[in-house]
Amino acid sequence: MDGTDPRAPRRGSAGTGVLEQERSSVFGSLGDGPWQAVVHNDPVNLMSYVVHVFRTYFGFSRARAGALMQQVHEQGRAIVSRGSREQIETDVQAMHSFGLQATLEPSGQD
């Protein structure tokens, strides 16, 4: 742990840079890297809460966050970010702090 609050909005999510423009489209990049964070469906977390977490933590647009939430709900899981192992561990830790079921895995799996 580097001492920063893991629940604070993720890197690149607060500004108005390129990353945010990418993240605000429905099909934009989730980032690139050898590891990915996956959020799994569960019957307790409210859909509106999951959308809220995706928007506030990753900085996704409402449409993007809603689409990912739907994917979790319908397919049981959705990849929400890709990056270095350290970055993805931070994301998974943040998801756990919000009570979402999340895992990290090597990139390349659907």
């Binding site: 019957p43 509106s48 809220h52 702090s97 999340a102």
Partner: protein, 215 residues
Amino acid sequence: MAHAFRPRPGGTLTCRLEGEERAIIAQVAQEVRELIRHDLQLQERPAPEAVQQAAQSDDPLQRLEAELAGAPSREPVDSAVQRLFPAASEDPQVAGEFRRFGQQALAEEKLEDLLRMIRMLDRPGSGREEVALGQEDVPVWLRGLNDMRLVLADRLSITRDGEFETLRMLQQIGEQVEDVPPVEDGDVAGGEIVAAVYELLTWLQESLLSALEHR
């Protein structure tokens, strides 16, 4: 009368809760804190002096031991605590490392969220039933309410989508059938209370999210 969260001028969000509702939410928050601490075997007090001294020792082995003493990564045993601290990977080695380095911090965050909620709910004699959340309180309440709901859902054995609705429907049908003898089994009666509290927390969380949208 209790009312849901509403946006107020100045950016705060307020809800009104009956004294009994405040008490029961604070009680559940406290019980979830105790459950986490007990299951992960976390100490209430800061590390004992000996451990703190060892942490500053010149001996790297002593420092390592102090680190391990201060950061236990015990696997959760209770099913609800397992839900709050899920395995981060199917690969046991990756999951184990993740727990070792992050579980203690995660537990402290969750305990702190719940404690802040308890302090806001627990103001004896204030005479005010309104709970006002500032900007920095909102994420604390969203996370805390969610963790409490996860624990209660585990106790209600909600493991699939729609299961709570089914449970509620069965209870309501049960209430409507007059010839059914009163429930004597403590577990079932307790289950009804747990379900009611779960509903209250769900309603509160939904209303907080909705108020955020309309702020």
